[in-house]
Amino acid sequence: MATHWVVVVAPLSGRTLELADVPDPVFAQKMVGDGLAVDPCSDVLVAPVSGALTNLPKTGHAAGITTDDGLEVLVHVGMDTVELKGEGFTPLAHPGDRVLAGQPLIRIDLERLRQRARSLVTPVVVTNPARVERMEIVAGEKVAAGRDALFRILVRDGAGDG
């Protein structure tokens, strides 16, 4: 059985937070998945892993990537930002695209969002825990987008996983 590590890099620069400190119970209780959050100070969201861009809604407030190993990584910019209906977000890629870790996906109007969004805290989570053998947080207190790793995942073999 081939097991190996996938490194998940920071999609935005900023200060890191544990998911438990994200101001939304669904993310804080890891119901979406396990991972780490970033309180952002940069305005271009980059891909945290390489793979297929499974999800980039028109609202531009989230991005989901499925790696070649079948790991699903979701980045969700801020809390309740779906309600802004795209205001402050400019998608730079299309759903279905193949993307490389570090590739720009969404431009973010930070100043506008600071005024309009309840929170800009951005969880980065693995949404299919069945594929996670082990997860190790590697980020320090601050991370740079596309450069610093947030965490790494030992991927479990996907045989029999739909």
């Binding site: 119901m31 499974t54 809604p57 989230a62 699903e72 979701l74 949404t127 739909g162």
Partner: protein
């Protein structure tokens, strides 16, 4: 195999939070569960899959369950959707 079609009433459709709750319930059931909008069908046990359907308010989706406990699974999911998926 059982199928049910249902209208999503959440103001912002099946975005991250309601999708997470739907998938969490789907994962409690051993049977295969798929969700379809138009001609796109995905695994209802995958959050990214469900979000990729981009279901908006007042759009309909079809849930299909197949295998052990399919009836119970569909009933639980329909009840969750009727209850507003945590946003009622």
């Amino acid at each position: 195999m059982m199928e049910e079609t249902v209208t999503i009433r959440n103001p912002s459709g099946l975005h991250a939070r309601p999708a997470a709750l739907l998938v969490q319930e789907a994962n409690r059931h051993p049977c295969e569960i798929r969700i379809r909008k138009g001609d796109k069908e995905v695994d209802a046990k995958s959050i990214l899959g469900v979000m990729s359907l981009a279901v908006c308010k007042d759009e309909t989706v079809t849930l299909r369950a197949e295998g052990a406990g399919e009836q119970e699974a569909l009933r639980a999911l329909l009840a969750l959707i009727a209850g507003g998926l945590g946003e009622a």
